[in-house]
C-alpha cells in the first residue's frame, strides 16, 4: 500500500471516464484554468527554468517507482505504447497512442493486442527505440521484483510454475516482437478490460534492452519523452532537461513549456511553503500547512488550487481477532469516530467526510448514511459486546497528519472503554508492518489512492477476504465476509459497466461498511497546489492521472 499511490488501471467501459469530473479538482482554488493540450505547438509559451519544491520520490526508475512524486515528473520522461491525454478534467483519463502509431488491434476474444511502433523513435541517447524493448521492459520488471509485476500476470507465459514470473529465464512467450516491422503483439490467457490502462502504467514504459536489472535511479535511463533526467540526487534534487533527440516524436503529448526543471526535494511542508512565498521556487508540491491555509487563501488566493482526487482515508480494524471480531465492537468503533472533527481539526478542513469506501465520483458510488457520532451509544455497545476493558494495539505512521489521526483513534477507543497501546512507526516500514499477520495490529490508520478508476481496485485489492495474505497484506483489517467475497469475484468477471452492475457494487460497499461495519472510512482528502507569483495561472492544467501538468505550465 502506498501513500499517494496513483498509477491508473482501468477495468471496463469508458463510461467511467464521464464520472471522473469529480477528480478534476474542486473548491475555492480560484480562477478556472485552461483546458490543456494533448500535443502540438507550444510556441510562445516556452520558458527557460521551472523551479519546484518536490517530495522525495521512492525511485526514479520506471520499473520501481510507485509514488506521485516520481510519476508526476517522469510521465514526461519515459513513455509506453499508450498514455493519457494531457487535459484538464475527465478528458485526462482518455488513452491515446504514445509510442504506438495508433491504438492497438484487439482480437474478438479480447486476448490478443497488436501494436505498431511509430517510425523513427529514438531514446535520448540517440539509439533507436525497438519493439523488442517492450519485452525487455516487462522482463526487467520481473527480474527486479517490480511492484507492478502483478499487473502482467495474465500475459501468456507469465504465470504458473514454469512461467516467467517463477523462472525469470528465457522470454515471456506471450510477448512477440518484430524489430524490423516495429510490431508488438501481446497474448493474454484471459481477457481483461483494463489491459490498455496497464500498458499506460510506468511499469510498461520503454527502457532499452540491456538496461541493468537493478535500480537505475541515480544513473538515468535514456528517455523516450520530451524530457530526460539530467541528475537525481536522492533526498536532495532532481534536474530534468529537454530530450535532445525527441523531435516531437510523440505528437499526442505536449512538447513541454519549461526548458529545464529543477526540483528541490523538501519534505517539510512548512519549509516548502516558505520557499515559494519567498520567491525561491515556483511551485510547492507539498500540501500547504494547515495553519497557513487561511493566509494562503487570503493573501495568495490566485496562486492556490485545491483538488480532491480519488482517495479514501479509513481506519482498518482487525475483523479476525478480539475485540473487533465482534460486530457490536466494530459498530461501537464506527460511532466513536467523528469524521468532521478529524477533517476540521487535523486536516484544516481539507477533506470531505465519508462513510463509503468507494470515493464519490464513481458511477458505483451510492452515499451511505449509516452512522452518527455518538460516544454514549458507542460505550453502550462496547459494554453489550462484552469486550470492554480489552487492550487494543493501535498502529499509525509517526508523522503528522497521520500521527494525529492515529492518536485520535486511540483516544476515542479509550473513551468508549478500551485500553489502547499506541504504536507509531516510520512511514517506510509502516505498511509492511501492519501488513504482516504476526504484528496482530487491531486498529490502524490507512488510506488508499486509486491505481485505476474501478471498484475492483478498492474492494478486490483491499477488502476481498480471499486475498488475505500472511505478509504484505493489503487487507490489514482481515475483512472477510464470504457472501461479499463471492460477489466481488463474480463482478470481477464482468467487464461491461451497466446500471445493474453499478448497483451491485454499491451494495458491496454498503454491506461492508454499514451492514458488517468491517472498516471505518472517514474522509476523502483534498490537497493543494501552491504556485509562486511568476507562474501564469491561466495555464494551470490538472489531469486526473497526471495531477498538475508541469509541461503545460507557463510563466507571466
Amino acid at each position: 500500500m502506498t501513500k499517494r499511490s496513483r498509477s491508473i488501471r482501468f477495468v471496463g467501459a469508458l463510461v467511467l471516464v464521464s464520472a471522473l469530473a469529480f477528480l478534476a479538482g474542486c473548491g475555492g482554488g480560484g480562477n478556472k484554468s485552461s483546458s490543456g493540450s494533448s500535443g502540438g505547438s507550444n510556441e510562445g509559451k516556452t520558458y527557460p527554468l521551472l523551479r519546484v519544491v518536490w517530495d522525495a520520490p521512492d525511485y526514479m526508475d520506471p520499473a520501481l517507482y510507485y509514488t506521485v512524486a516520481a510519476y508526476q515528473l517522469t510521465n514526461y520522461v519515459w513513455e509506453g505504447l499508450v498514455g493519457y491525454k494531457h487535459e484538464n478534467g475527465p478528458g485526462g483519463a482518455t488513452l491515446v497512442p504514445y509510442l504506438a502509431e495508433k491504438m492497438p488491434t484487439i482480437s474478438a476474444d479480447g486476448k490478443n493486442y497488436k501494436f505498431t511502433l511509430r517510425d523513427g523513435l529514438k531514446y535520448s541517447n540517440g539509439n533507436a527505440v525497438k519493439a523488442s524493448d517492450f519485452r525487455c521492459t516487462i522482463e526487467r520488471d520481473f527480474k527486479m521484483d517490480s511492484p507492478g509485476v502483478g499487473f502482467y500476470s495474465d500475459i501468456t507465459g507469465v504465470s504458473g510454475s514454469s512461467g516467467y514470473a517463477e523462472t525469470k529465464k528465457g522470454h515471456i512467450s506471450g510477448i512477440i516482437t518484430n524489430d524490423a516491422n516495429r510490431t508488438v503483439e501481446i497474448k493474454l490467457d484471459s481477457p481483461r478490460g483494463d489491459f490498455l490502462y496497464i500498458l499506460a502504467m510506468e511499469f510498461s514504459h520503454f527502457v532499452p534492452c540491456g538496461t541493468p536489472a537493478s535500480d537505475q535511479s541515480t544513473h538515468p535511463i535514456p528517455a523516450t519523452g520530451p524530457y530526460m533526467v539530467q541528475s537525481y540526487r536522492p533526498n536532495r534534487s532532481i534536474t530534468m532537461v529537454r530530450n535532445p533527440n525527441y523531435n516531437d516524436q510523440i505528437p499526442t503529448m505536449p512538447t513541454g513549456n519549461p526548458d529545464k526543471v529543477e526540483a528541490t526535494i523538501i519534505t517539510d511542508p512548512v519549509a516548502a511553503y516558505q520557499r515559494v512565498i519567498s520567491g525561491q521556487a515556483d511551485y510547492d508540491y507539498q500540501p500547504v500547512p494547515t495553519d497557513r491555509l487561511p493566509e494562503a487563501q487570503s493573501k495568495y488566493k490566485e496562486q492556490l488550487r485545491i483538488y480532491t482526487n480519488a482517495n479514501t482515508y479509513y481506519y482498518a480494524i482487525n475483523n479476525r481477532i478480539p475485540p473487533f471480531n465482534n460486530i457490536q465492537a466494530r459498530k461501537a468503533a464506527q460511532m466513536a469516530i467523528d469524521p468532521q472533527a478529524i477533517i476540521s481539526g487535523i486536516y484544516g478542513g481539507l477533506g470531505r467526510p465519508t462513510e463509503n469506501f468507494l470515493p464519490p465520483g464513481y458511477p458505483q458510488y451510492k452515499k451511505i448514511d449509516a452512522w452518527s457520532f455518538d460516544l454514549a451509544k458507542a460505550k453502550q455497545l462496547v459494554q453489550q459486546s462484552g469486550t470492554a476493558g480489552q487492550t487494543v494495539d493501535v498502529y499509525g505512521p509517526n508523522e503528522d497528519p497521520s500521527k494525529s489521526t492515529t492518536e485520535y483513534l486511540a483516544n476515542q477507543l479509550t473513551k468508549i472503554g478500551y485500553k489502547t497501546k499506541l504504536h507509531l512507526l516510520e512511514h517506510s516500514v509502516y505498511f509492511q508492518t501492519i501488513g504482516a499477520q504476526k504484528t496482530r495490529a487491531q486498529a490502524m490508520f490507512t488510506d488508499w489512492y486509486q491505481d485505476y478508476p474501478h471498484p475492483l481496485d478498492w474492494f478486490d485489492v483491499l477488502l476481498n477476504g480471499n486475498r488475505i495474505t500472511e505478509t504484505h497484506n493489503n487487507n490489514p483489517g482481515n475483512v472477510n465476509v464470504p457472501s461479499v467475497n463471492k460477489e466481488i469475484d463474480a463482478l470481477k468477471k464482468i467487464s461491461e459497466i451497466t446500471p445493474e452492475v453499478n448497483a451491485r457494487w454499491a451494495k458491496v460497499d454498503k454491506d461492508l461498511m454499514a451492514t458488517y461495519a468491517t472498516t471505518i472510512p472517514y474522509m476523502n482528502r483534498s490537497q493543494t497546489d501552491f504556485f509562486g507569483t511568476k507562474m501564469d495561472m491561466s495555464c494551470y492544467v490538472f489531469g486526473v492521472v497526471t495531477f498538475w501538468d508541469f509541461g503545460l505550465s507557463c510563466q507571466k
Partner: protein, 359 residues
C-alpha cells in the same frame, strides 16, 4: 557537559577548611559546614525553591487536570466547544467545504486563555484540542521522572564501577575503563538516539526484563547508560587518589574487608562530589530527554514530555508559537534552577572552589 566542571572538585583537609571558613568550625561536621555555606548563597537557594515549585506543580498534574482543567493529558477535544466569557468557542476552529463548494480553512487551536475560561486551556490547545497546560504538567512529570530516574541509575552504576575499577585496579580497572572508553567513543546524543529509536519500536525483552515499547523506563535506561562514563571517570579519578591515603591504609591494616573499605571509607569521602554531580547531571538528563523525545526516540506519543510538546508545536511555530515556546521555557527554568543550585552546592561542599571564585 555539566559533568566537566566536576573534575575541578577537590578534597579538603581540615586545615584548609578552617582557613577558608568564616567562623568557628570546631565540632561541626563537614555537612553542617556545607549547609552553613549554602544557606548564605541566596541565589542558589532561590533557584532551589524554583525547582521545588516546578516539581510540586508537576507532581500535582493529576489534581490540576481533574479539578481545574477537567480533562486528561491525552484527551482530544476535536469538534468540541468550551465556554469563554459566557460564549461557546470551538477548541479547534472548524473548516471544510461549504455546500456551495467554497473551502473554509480550519484547524487552528485556541490560544492561551489564562483565567478567561475557568481554568480550561490556560496555555491554549494543540491541534487535537488537548489542553496544553495539562500536557505541560504531565510532560514535566515525565521529563523530571526520566531526568531524575536516569540520574539515579547513572550515579549508582557509575559509583559502583568507579569504586571497583579504582579500588581493585589491574584487569578490573582495565576492563571497566575500556567499557567507559567504548561508550565515550560515541557522541552522547547519537548513541542515545540509536538506542532510543531501536528500543522504542519493540521495547526491551532481554535478561528477564520486559519493557514495552512506550515505557518510560526505556528513555530512562538509555540516558543513564550513555552518561555512565561521564560520571564514572571523574569519580574513578578521585577514588584512585583516595585509595593512596593513610586512612585507607589504616582501615586495611585493621583487617577491614574490601567491601568495608569501599563502602565505609571511600564512598563517604566522595559523597559530596557525587551529590554535586547528581544535581548537575539531572539537568543534563532533562535536556537529553527533551532532545530524544523531540526526535521521536524518547517518550512515545501520546504520552507527553517537554520534548514531545516542542516537537508537536514546531510545525505551528508561526501561527501558534505558544505550543513550542511554553514547554521550552519550562525546560529552561528547570535546567537553569538545577545548574545554579548545583553550582551553589559545589561551592558549599568545596570551599576551595569558592576561594578560587572569590579571587
Amino acid at each position: 557537559m555539566a559533568t566537566d566542571s566536576s573534575t575541578d572538585l577537590t578534597l579538603d583537609s581540615a586545615a584548609a577548611l578552617a582557613a577558608d571558613e568564616q567562623g568557628e568550625i570546631e565540632g561541626k561536621s563537614p555537612w553542617l559546614l556545607a549547609w552553613r555555606r549554602l544557606r548564605r548563597n541566596y541565589v542558589a537557594l532561590g533557584f532551589l525553591v524554583l525547582f521545588v515549585v516546578i516539581v510540586l506543580l508537576c507532581a500535582f498534574a493529576g489534581t490540576y487536570a481533574s479539578q481545574i482543567a477537567h480533562t486528561g493529558p491525552n484527551d482530544n477535544h476535536l469538534g468540541e466547544t468550551f465556554t469563554k466569557d459566557g460564549k461557546q468557542v470551538p477548541v479547534v476552529s472548524k473548516g471544510g467545504f461549504t455546500t456551495g463548494g467554497e473551502f473554509v480553512a480550519g484547524g487552528i487551536p485556541v490560544g492561551p486563555q489564562l483565567w478567561h475560561a475557568g481554568g480550561r486551556y490556560v496555555f491554549g490547545a494543540d491541534n487535537q484540542g488537548r489542553d496544553v497546560a495539562v500536557r505541560l504538567l504531565y510532560g514535566g512529570r515525565n521529563s523530571l521522572l526520566i531526568g531524575i530516574g536516569s540520574a539515579i541509575f547513572c550515579m549508582v552504576f557509575a559509583l559502583l564501577t568507579a569504586l571497583l575499577a579504582a579500588y581493585y585496579g589491574g584487569w578490573v580497572d582495565w576492563l571497566i575503563s575500556r567499557v567507559y572508553d567504548l561508550i565515550w567513543a560515541f557522541p552522547v546524543l547519537l548513541l542515545a538516539i540509536a538506542l532510543g529509536t531501536a528500543l522504542s519500536i519493540n521495547g526491551f525483552h532481554h535478561l528477564g526484563i520486559n519493557l514495552a515499547a512506550g515505557s518510560l523506563w526505556i528513555p530512562t535506561g538509555v540516558i543513564a547508560f550513555v552518561l555512565i562514563p561521564y560520571v564514572g571517570r571523574p569519580l574513578r579519578g578521585q577514588i584512585l587518589s583516595l585509595r593512596e591515603k593513610e586512612f585507607v591504609e589504616a582501615a586495611t591494616a585493621q583487617g577491614a574487608s574490601s567491601v568495608r573499605v569501599m563502602v565505609g571509607e571511600l564512598l563517604p569521602n566522595i559523597a559530596s562530589s557525587a551529590l554535586v554531580l547528581f544535581t548537575l547531571i539531572i539537568a543534563t538528563n532533562i535536556i537529553t530527554e527533551a532532545g530524544l523525545s523531540f526526535l521521536g526516540a524518547g517518550v512515545q506519543p501520546p504520552n507527553p514530555s517537554w520534548g514531545t510538546l516542542i516537537a508537536d508545536g514546531q510545525s505551528r511555530i508561526v501561527t501558534a508559537p505558544w505550543l513550542a515556546i511554553i514547554p521550552g521555557i519550562a525546560i529552561v527554568l528547570t535546567v537553569l534552577s538545577l545548574n545554579v543550585f548545583g553550582d551553589g552546592l559545589r561551592d558549599a561542599l568545596d570551599p576551595r572552589a569558592k576561594v578560587r571564585a572569590e579571587r
